[in-house]
């Protein structure tokens, strides 16, 4: 069974590399948001560094939502999803592995480049570290929550809009604790960070079950 899951992971990475787009698109979106915000706010460096972590987090949330509608739809359209139902591996684990592969392509580059983007928003060393740490936990949570929306909208051709409406409310608690951990690097980083980790762990446990249930009813 681990072999099946490994194959799905490798397959999704291969497809992402051959077809391209997904990861780079999110990154370019992230970059353009971070570039544009300082122009909109004006030349107030103190304000910028104060709201910097929040901007990075919002950018990460929106960038995570970008490619999510294709997470299961690409497999639904060409019949690969049917073959997954016939696999001995449980659908829940397949969903989890697909989310991991998707995060690897779209979320991880965001996390790795977030210190660079943070510099553009005048964040200092500790703030850069805490933003990167919180995003490392937060972006996979976004992907997992998004998977529920992606599974619910799998048969809708223009499901992106509905997906955002479904997922953003679920993502709000993650955003709140993520930003408060990222902003209060010096005072109380640990408490909100641990809550963020708890949200992440809960979504690892629950989101694949919800998404798999949604995919099963999508055949109906």
């Amino acid at each position: 069974m681990t072999r099946i899951l490994l194959v799905i992971f490798v397959r999704d990475l291969m497809l992402a590399r051959r077809i391209g787009g997904g990861g780079i698109l999110g990154l370019v979106f992230f970059l353009s948001l971070v570039t544009v915000v300082p122009f909109a706010i004006g030349p107030d460096l103190r304000l910028l560094s104060r709201i910097g972590p929040a901007i990075l987090w919002i950018a990460a949330l929106l960038a995570s939502l970008l490619g999510l509608d294709r997470l299961f739809q690409a497999d639904q359209e060409d019949g690969s999803l049917d073959q997954m139902f016939l696999s001995p591996a449980p659908l829940e684990l397949i969903v989890l592995v697909k989310c991991m592969a998707h995060w690897f392509v779209t979320g991880l580059p965001l996390v790795m480049l977030s210190p660079l983007f943070g510099l553009m928003l005048d964040l200092d060393g500790p703030a850069l570290r805490s933003v990167a740490a919180t995003l490392l936990v937060g972006t996979p949570t976004f992907t997992l929550l998004g998977a529920i929306g992606a599974a619910l909208t799998v048969t809708l051709r223009r499901g992106g809009l509905l997906l955002s409406i479904l997922v953003v409310p679920l993502a709000v608690p993650v955003l709140i604790f993520g930003v408060s951990a990222a902003q209060s690097a010096t005072i109380s980083f640990l408490t909100p960070f641990l809550v963020l980790c708890a949200l992440g762990l809960a979504s690892i446990a629950l989101a694949p079950i919800a998404a798999a249930a949604a995919l099963r009813t999508a055949g109906e």
Partner: protein, 208 residues
């Protein structure tokens, strides 16, 4: 597959509904090792729905569906004992035929043939390393059908298997299905053009 192993697919009074609407009702069928059944009927009557319901993609409203194997030790669920080849071929255009089949093989487990052997049987070995997106509709279909050969599963559900195939490939598929039946397999095909194999059970879906 072991010749001595007898498998049976039993369907009793199966009905399938989407919401309030009954799509199929009162389907009964008994299929044993070595037998083929052809589901026929006009467009939109529910042939594909029946196949998808048996594959488990579609919830069953009422009735019973059971899978009996003589060697009861292996009680794998029906979904792991069947192949489903539908209108959508389940192939990734960006990957080569070999990669697609290797993925199919790992997905479904318990391989019997390599992708090369399976494609060779479908007389398509020359496209092994071409991306599937470059192939014609008939060639794609044959790559999808090659999946039947790489992993051994007793029940084949074929939805319009002859679509896009040329006359030669049709004959090839018939030979492959006959071979599958000969080694104790079962086949349920939804088709407008009969495969013409001896002893075919006819399942006619007509006026609802």
């Amino acid at each position: 597959m072991d010749k001595t192993q007898q498998s049976h697919l039993l369907i009793e009074d199966l009905s399938v509904a989407r919401g309030e609407r009954i799509l199929l009702g009162g389907i009964s069928l008994r299929l044993s090792s070595g037998q083929i059944a052809e589901v026929t009927g006009p467009n939109g009557v529910g042939k594909s729905t029946l196949l998808r319901a048996i594959a488990g993609f579609f919830p069953v409203r009422s009735g019973r569906m059971s899978w009996v194997e003589s060697e009861a030790a292996d009680s794998a669920p029906l979904a792991e004992r069947l192949h489903y080849i539908g209108h959508l071929d389940g192939l990734k255009s960006a990957l080569t035929a070999r990669e697609n089949l290797e993925i199919g093989l790992r997905f479904l487990g318990r391989d019997r043939r390599t992708p090369l052997q399976a494609l060779d049987r479908m007389e398509l070995a020359h496209v092994l390393d071409l991306p599937v997106g470059y192939l014609s509709a008939g060639q794609r279909r044959r790559v999808a059908l090659a999946r039947l050969l790489i992993v051994d599963r007793p029940l084949w559900l074929l939805d319009e298997p002859l679509t896009a195939l040329d006359r030669h490939a049709c004959a090839l598929l018939k030979a492959i299905v006959a071979g599958h039946l000969g080694s104790g397999g079962l086949t349920l095909a939804a088709t407008h053009e009969p495969l013409g194999l001896p002893g075919t059970i006819q399942v006619r879906l007509g006026t609802r």
